[in-house]
Symmetry: C2
Subunit: 220 residues, 2 copies
C-alpha cells in the first residue's frame, strides 16, 4: 500500500453506473421501453464533483426527509494522461486502487444518474490507503464487501461486473482524456443499500483496504 | 473588466440545460411522455470536467464523423463558498461574469445531457476576460450573441431564460455547495448551432466580453 498520489487537487471523479452484470440482466425489460428502446451501448457515467469529496472516517449528513443509500466501489487511480488506450494497455496508466463510498439519493431512472441525487456535499469518501497497481496481479478478481452496523450487506467481485477494469479504462478514455489523479469508480452492486441516521458503513477491498463512514443525525 | 480569479485550479463547471423559456414551451408535449410524464421540476444540470476546459482563441477538434454543435452562455463565477442561499442574496457570492462556449455532440435526450456528448476534450472554452459583478446593475438583462463565420446565428437575453441568474444560484446551491472558482453557465439558446470543420465561432456578452474559437479539421 502507498499514499502517494493526491487525488484531491484538481481531479475528476468518474463513477460507472449499471455495471453489475446481474442487475443489467434483470433490467432488460425496462431497457426495451421508451424512450431508449435498447440497453445502453456505452458505459453509464456520472461525476462526483469536488463538493462531494470526503475522507475515511467522515460522517455523511443525510438531507432531511430523503432516503440515503450507499454503494462501494474500487476506485482506479490514474497515473498519467490516458487518451484512447486499449484494454490491454490500460493498467499501464494506473498507479493504484482505492475504495470509494458513493452516498446518494435513490435513483429514479437507470439511464443517467441525476445530479441532485449524486452530488450531495461530502457524499464521496475515498480511502487514503492505496493498493499499488504493482502489488496485484489480477485486479479483475478483487472482491469488495460492505457491512452496515457489522452485518454483511454486499459482496461483489470485479469479475461480476459487465465491463472489467481494463475494458472500462479503454471505454472511458475514448470518451474523455483521463488525467493524473483522476479516478474511475468501476462498479457498484446493483442494489444500493438503504441507510438510517447513525448507521456505520464499513467496506473492504478484501485483504487490502478498509473504508469506514457513518451517517449523521438528521439536520435542517 | 478584470482577470482576477483563476477558475482553472480545482473548480467545478456546472452548465444548465433546458433553460430557454421558448424551448421549454415547445417541449411540453415531449415532457408528458414516458418515462417522466412531467416537465423537469429541478434545473437540468451537467458538468464540464477539466479535460474539457479551454481558452479564448483555441481550436476545437470535432471527432471524426460526429456532428459538432455549439452554444454560448454567460458563466457566473463564484467568489466564496455558497450553500443554500436565497435568490436575493445570490449575487453576494459572485465575483463576475465570463463567457463560455459549450461544444458538444447533439443531444439525443432533453432530460439529462449525456456524458459522451458533453465531455469532449477541450470543448469548453472560457473567456479570460471577466466582467466584475460590481460593474453591472442588472445582470439579468445582459445579452449574448453568437456569430459563425461573421453571420449572426443566435441572440439571447438572460431575461429569456426560464430561471434567471439569481434563481439558478439559489437552486444549484441547494443541490450542492458551490466553492470559490466554480462556475455556472446559466443558459444556452435552445437550438444549438451545427458546425463544420474550419468554422469560426465568435460570441459576445454585448458591450462587454468576446470569445472566439474555431473548429478544427477532421482528425482520427
Amino acid at each position: 500500500m502507498q499514499n502517494a498520489l493526491n487525488t484531491t487537487a484538481s481531479s475528476k471523479w468518474v463513477c460507472v453506473a449499471l455495471n453489475d452484470l446481474q442487475q443489467l440482466k434483470a433490467l432488460q425489460g425496462t431497457f426495451n421501453e421508451a424512450p431508449y428502446k435498447q440497453p445502453p451501448t456505452q458505459p453509464v457515467l456520472y461525476f462526483k464533483p469536488r463538493n462531494t469529496w470526503n475522507v475515511d472516517g467522515a460522517t455523511i449528513d443525510a438531507p432531511v426527509g430523503e432516503p440515503l443509500v450507499v454503494g462501494a466501489s474500487i476506485a482506479v487511480i490514474i497515473e498519467r494522461e490516458c487518451c484512447r488506450v486499449s484494454a490491454d494497455q490500460a493498467l499501464d496508466y494506473v498507479v493504484g486502487y482505492r475504495l470509494l463510498h458513493d452516498f446518494s439519493l435513490p435513483e429514479q431512472s437507470y439511464y443517467r444518474p441525476d445530479i441532485k441525487g449524486k452530488c450531495l456535499d461530502g457524499s464521496a469518501p475515498l480511502s487514503e490507503a492505496q493498493l499499488a497497481v504493482t502489488a496485484i496481479d489480477t485486479p479483475n478478481s478483487l472482491v469488495v464487501t460492505t457491512d452496515v452496523n457489522g452485518v454483511r450487506v454486499a459482496e461483489q467481485s470485479v469479475s461480476q461486473l459487465h465491463r472489467n477494469i481494463n475494458t472500462l479504462i479503454e471505454a472511458v478514455s475514448h470518451i474523455m482524456t483521463l488525467q493524473p489523479g483522476d479516478l474511475i469508480a468501476v462498479g457498484f452492486p446493483g442494489e444500493r443499500i438503504a441507510l438510517q441516521p447513525g448507521d456505520q458503513v464499513k467496506s473492504e477491498i478484501v485483504g487490502h483496504i478498509a473504508l469506514t463512514n457513518s451517517v449523521g443525525e438528521l439536520s435542517a
